[in-house]
């Protein structure tokens, strides 16, 4: 099947002004200006299939929002090719807009002074949604989250969580092919975060909507994305299944044990037994970072049990967050 989004060698360059420092510098800026070219997106290629949820990650200023702006047709690429649903977004901005929904975690796109239902009705007119589809969607929303109490509340009186929820519902209202979510859970409490993740998941499943999610919260990624794409300095660093991510630096797991006696001396002992693994100790636990390609955790545990009494043990997977941090820091 044709991918919904097809990107080939996408590049975007900006001219930015070099501001000089200090009082004297700004005096000089008054008379002459000095520009430099920055490549925000640098030869990126990828395909997104219909119905996928793709986590689009990268540190601040990596070029994420620039890419999103090009996908939504707000920005024209400097070079390269981009096709969304078979059309070039910036050439058919209005048509492209009909088929997408956008949510910014911090910028509500709803009418500030209006009750939510009025915003919905306006969107119905703007996107020319037929009555039955509109009603169907509202029923679906009601079944997923209880929106009745929100409908007659002006957006400005809503809490941040309610507002984000409303924004997401508004973005899905016209049943777009693609929804772009930019940090949808930023600033929300734990329960609201999970509510929003469940909602996105459900809408993706029910409507088969493609979702491009940018976030700094690995909780979102773990809960929603099978596939992640990582960029930094405009370049693509990683584009694969999330499960492969963890093997990117070898398949590490951390074995934590508690033994009788002095933990520090026991730790030294273990270090001698397994010189190939890093061993750390704190007041409660001795942690052994086991590389499973060299020895299975069970085997390590077994050997340890023969030499010392193990009172308690824990096994920890390496967290997505740690892997991502490693990728960011690799450069």
């Amino acid at each position: 099947m044709e991918p919904v989004i097809k990107i080939r060698d996408l590049t975007k360059e900006f001219k930015v002004l070099n501001h000089r420092e200090g009082l004297k510098g700004s005096m000089m800026d008054l008379f002459s200006r000095d520009y430099k070219t920055v490549r925000a997106v640098d030869h990126i290629s990828m395909d997104v299939e219909e119905g996928e949820i793709v986590g689009y990650l990268g540190p601040n200023g990596a070029g994420k929002s620039t890419t999103i702006k090009m996908m939504t047709g707000v920005l024209q690429p400097s070079s390269g090719e981009i096709l969304v649903g078979g059309t070039i977004p910036y050439k058919n901005r209005s048509r492209n807009a009909q088929g997408i929904g956008v949510v910014f975690g911090q910028r509500s796109q709803l009418w500030w002074a209006l009750p939510l239902i009025e915003s919905f009705r306006l969107l119905k007119d703007i996107y020319q949604i037929p009555d039955e589809k509109y009603n169907e969607m509202l029923e679906l929303y009601q079944s997923l989250v209880n929106i009745k109490p929100l409908l007659h509340k002006p957006v400005r009186q809503m809490s941040l969580g309610q507002r984000t929820l409303s924004d997401i519902l508004a973005a899905f209202l016209h049943d777009p092919k693609i929804v772009y979510l930019d940090e949808p859970t930023i600033g929300l409490d734990v329960s609201m975060k999970s509510k929003i993740r469940t909602l996105i998941q459900a809408l993706n499943e029910k409507k088969h909507t493609t979702v491009i999610l940018t976030t700094h919260d690995m909780g979102d990624v773990d809960a929603l994305c099978r596939r992640i794409v990582i960029i930094d300095h405009g370049k693509l660093l990683y584009d694969d299944d999330i499960s492969n991510l963890k093997t990117l630096f070898g398949s590490y797991r951390t074995l934590k044990i508690r033994t009788g006696g002095d933990l520090a001396s026991k730790a030294r002992e273990i270090e001698k037994m397994f010189p190939e693994f890093a061993v750390k100790d704190d007041e409660e636990w001795i942690s052994v970072l086991v590389d499973e390609e060299r020895a299975k955790v069970m085997k390590v545990l077994h050997e340890l049990e023969e030499t010392m009494t193990i009172k308690d043990m824990q096994l920890e997977e390496i967290a997505t967050e740690d892997v991502i941090r490693k990728i960011y820091e690799r450069k």
Partner: protein, 267 residues
């Protein structure tokens, strides 16, 4: 997809306008203070006018009531910019903070979508003030009241209002290129004060500037001549409806060009 019709846009605009008025009314303190402000502004403007004519019986051959006619005309023709295009004042802030991007994702005209967000009811007070002044001056000057004259007035007023709208659009659009464009907008808005004087007071160079470069002469002077002095209507007066439309179109193009250009700078 079919092209969106005027009926489509009107439907959306009407819905937003009704909702906006409803929500404005619910903030009573705001409504009262703002309406009071509008009335006070108009009274202060009128007092300036009145003081001037306490000292000087006429300006450049224009008598008190003729000047009052010009004054009323200019008040009415600058009302639409205040009622319908008030969101231009927030454009700079929206662009500066990056919030402007959120207007770019809708499948409807960006300029329309942005301007439709705000409908300022308070401007209506000025409209009534202006109509009152115009009718009073009309009566005092014993101008004929014919259907044709009324039609002419309405057409010329409507197109004259486009001039002020164009100037505000163009001035607001500068924020896409320069940072502190507030000064430009404030300046453009201040020019309206000079629309109420006859152009003949200026030297030819400035008459040229105010006719073709900063077209404030078309806000009240040229269109008013058609009613006030039907014997000596210059060609420019008859052209003023077209000039209004032309400038509006140009300012719209500039605004849209700026908006497209803006999205080009990353946030």
């Amino acid at each position: 997809m079919e092209r969106k019709t005027i009926a489509f846009y009107w439907k959306i605009y009407r819905r937003i306008m009704i909702q906006d008025i409803k929500s404005k009314m619910s903030y009573r303190a705001d409504f009262i203070i703002s309406t009071f402000g509008m009335v006070a502004t108009n009274i202060a403007g009128f007092i300036s006018f009145w003081i001037l004519f306490q000292n000087f019986p006429s300006v450049n051959g224009w008598g008190y009531y003729e000047m009052l006619f010009l004054y009323g005309f200019s008040l009415i023709s600058i009302t639409p910019v205040q009622c319908l295009f008030d969101n231009n004042w927030s454009l700079r802030i929206n662009v500066y903070s990056g919030d402007f991007i959120k207007y770019c994702f809708r499948p409807i005209n960006l300029f329309f979508y942005y301007q439709s967000e705000i409908f300022d009811v308070k401007g209506l007070g000025q409209l009534f003030f202006g109509i009152g002044t115009l009718i009073y001056a009309w009566y005092k000057l014993s101008l004929p009241v014919t259907l044709l004259a009324v039609c002419k007035t309405v057409v010329f007023l409507t197109t004259a209002s486009l001039i002020m709208i164009s100037m505000q659009n163009a001035a607001a659009a500068t924020c896409f290129w320069i940072q502190n464009s507030f000064f430009v907008l404030d300046l453009a808005f201040r020019f309206k004060d000079y629309a109420k004087y006859p152009m003949t007071i200026f030297s030819p160079v400035f008459r040229f500037i105010f006719t073709f470069l900063i077209p404030i002469a078309f806000i009240a002077y040229y269109p008013s001549l058609v009613i006030l002095r039907p014997g000596e209507v210059p060609l420019l007066s008859w052209l003023s409806p077209f000039i209004g439309c032309l400038f509006f179109w140009l300012s719209y193009k500039l605004w849209m060009f700026g908006a497209m250009n803006y999205s080009g700078t990353g946030s």
